[in-house]
């Protein structure tokens, strides 16, 4: 794969965790696609910011807690994580509530980043 051209991939996450399968599916696709050595970034907008809200305890709802896996992303050389500023504010959250280091960007700034991508995958 390393022979191929490196493309810019952005995964855009807009759904809350647990309520739908999107968050977990996105994470799995990110991990699988990491094998292709592309230039990967993850963006979290709207309810997607809840995916990174630290402190998940899923014992009560009896589903697997996939939050620790976000901390493994760095091992996969995925360390560009962008979180929408307006979404955090509307939910009473801040960067300090996130379970991994993130860069907080406005919607407009995320929009500009989207323009620089070769591929955007929406979850």
């Amino acid at each position: 794969m390393s022979e191929g051209q490196i493309k810019k991939f952005m995964y855009l996450n807009r759904k809350a965790p647990h309520g739908t399968i999107y968050a977990l599916e996105s994470l799995e696709v990110v991990l699988i696609a990491a094998a292709f050595d592309q230039d990967v970034s993850l963006a979290f907008m709207d309810d997607g910011v809840y995916q990174l809200k630290k402190g998940f305890n899923t014992k009560g709802i009896e589903v697997k807690n996939f939050q620790p896996t976000y901390r493994a992303l760095d091992d996969y050389d995925i360390n560009k994580l962008y979180v929408e500023k307006e979404a955090l504010e509307a939910r009473g959250l801040g960067a300090e509530d996130m379970c991994v280091p993130v860069e907080v960007l406005s919607r407009a700034e995320i929009g500009k980043l989207m323009e620089t991508q070769d591929v955007i995958l929406s979850f």
């Binding site: 965790p17 309520g19 309810d47 809200k53 014992k59 009560g60 807690n65 939910r91």
Partner: protein, 99 residues
């Protein structure tokens, strides 16, 4: 009457419609992504607090915990477990889920 909302208030209008429809004396139970409405600092927290004058508001604790939100539960919201969920359903003659 027991109203149940399971959708995120910033993604769907289920909570808005529910709050506009529910009559005084009823109960509202927030579950799944609906529990985000009952967290401090949330854009919908104001209207939920306002609704507490006419409705008794509950939220399912396991769903708050799963989302890392248990310690942010809004004041005035009663947290219930699955047993409490069943009790609420049996205590009310009718039950409306705002899917």
């Amino acid at each position: 009457m027991l109203h149940i909302v399971n959708k995120s208030p910033l993604e769907r209008n289920s909570l808005d419609t529910c709050l506009a429809t529910a009559q005084p004396g009823g109960a509202l139970l927030l579950i799944e992504d609906g529990v985000y409405a009952a967290t401090a600092g949330h854009a919908a927290a104001g209207k939920l607090s306002a609704a507490m004058d006419k409705l008794k508001v509950y939220a399912l604790k396991p769903d708050l915990e799963a989302r890392g939100m248990a310690e942010r539960a809004l004041e005035g919201v009663t947290l219930v477990d699955y047993g409490g969920f069943v009790d609420l359903v049996t205590e009310h003659a009718t039950c409306q889920s705002w899917l």
